[in-house]
Symmetry: C2
Subunit: 264 residues, 2 copies
């Protein structure tokens, strides 16, 4: 039995509904003003390299919290939460293959696991909206278009691969304002990584994103590209680890941080 | 045979002299304009927790580079350098005890070791000087006074302990300017952590620093406190690890980064 989304107006309510199993859907628009996060869980054996990868690639992988090995508590961003139960849905990866999509991972938890909570673009999209900047894919009711680039991330151990970017089209003056607004949020991908010439970063056709849905770009607009939280998931899939756990797409962890706490 | 300090005007020259064994002294004032760094080397077994500790405590432990396990090359800040040979002097710690102070650690290197290069206050002192702000301990020709505080660092695994701070006295208008100037350098300790009331952070007597030398503070001045790179060394000593290697006090790693590259 699914709970009414409109009742989930704060982070604790979302997490409680997930924990009880009464909410298993995507989290876009829930608990407005609370920062949401991507989740990656790895055994300690791979945690140093992944932490290095995130440190070396802060734009696609901005860390909001990293748990102590064996502890499921994200003590910095939501001390009362449990990352084993408090997300709507998870994905279990074995050797890069998706093997299960459960709503609770308590039975897969090991006493050496480390959770990485990575900033999400929902926070900067809220800031763009407050600044009066339109967000094309939201207007269209679709998912943001995302593209693999030819820009290599800085590798760390087994973790390597290209940066994935999300794209939002803007008129030139809006693009300038979008740079200013998102620069204030370095912990949720920050300023764009590219603007205006997709071919220069290996994107040949804006109408054919690698993830998400296409959006129209008018002749007098510029495509603006931000580093995207899909990057660590793509890198993780390529790393061929015996076991990794992530959130399911769109089914994020809702933290107690306010979006504004992440602003500068 | 020791080389003439005044010939060591750039980072590569300092490192070459260290590598050849012709320079084993402190590095203050060498290679002006190049950023210097604190060094901590740990076996991989403890590297995740120490990286977490630094991430959770960025003011005392701002990371400039972290090497790949087994690689002595600090590829981000000095790709041609070797952290086993390119510092003037090292300290070898076994179970928290100082057991040796060699000028080369090649014979202690293990194929799972990780080097952590941590920003140093020399960079922000250069910026303070350029802004016309006096630096009392340099005027006095002594080491900066440093104090253990009652402010606990955020622990990570075996790493825990109080924040150590350095103190520079300023007239009120200078103190305001010093906040502004050092805020531009988050990767080398950044803005002060305290100003004006040492008792509030557990410091009872400014004339008796825990490390370094005392400096006079006039009645119309304020003591200004910055997070200090001695913090990770004190935490390391308390962690009682079988083996850790650090630079010797004042004998820093000289990187290829310019001080200005670390400014915002």
């Amino acid at each position: 039995m699914s709970i009414d989304r409109t009742t989930l107006t704060n982070s604790a309510a979302v997490r409680q509904a997930c924990r009880e199993g009464s909410f298993t859907d995507h989290t876009a628009g829930l608990a407005p003003g609370f920062a949401q996060a991507n989740l990656v869980i790895l055994p300690r054996e791979h945690a140093f390299d992944f932490l290095q990868f995130c440190r070396r690639n802060p734009k696609p992988c901005p860390l909001l919290d990293v748990t102590e090995p064996g502890s499921p508590l994200p003590s910095t961003i939501a001390p009362d939460a449990d990352i084993r139960t408090d997300l709507p849905r998870y994905r279990i990866w074995e050797h890069g293959e998706l093997v299960d999509e459960p709503t609770d991972i308590s039975d897969r938890w090991q006493d050496d696991m480390v959770g990485f909570l990575i900033g999400c673009s929902f926070t900067f999209e809220a800031a763009l909206s407050r600044a009066g900047l339109p967000i094309r894919h939201l207007e269209q009711g679709t998912n943001v278009p995302m593209f693999r680039t030819n820009v290599a991330c800085h590798p760390a151990g087994v973790f390597a691969g290209p940066m994935v970017v999300s794209m939002r089209p803007y008129a030139p003056a809006e693009a300038i304002r979008a740079v200013q607004v998102t620069s204030r949020y370095p912990e949720v991908h920050g300023a764009p990584v590219h603007i205006g010439h997709p071919g220069l970063i290996g994107i040949s056709d804006l109408a054919r994103p690698d993830y998400g849905d296409p959006v129209p770009v008018a002749d007098d607009e510029l495509p603006v590209f931000w580093a995207c939280g899909v990057t660590p998931q793509a890198v993780l899939a390529a790393a061929d680890l015996p076991l990794a756990i992530t959130h399911a797409p769109g089914a994020m962890f809702v933290s107690d941080l306010s979006d504004e706490e992440l602003g500068q």
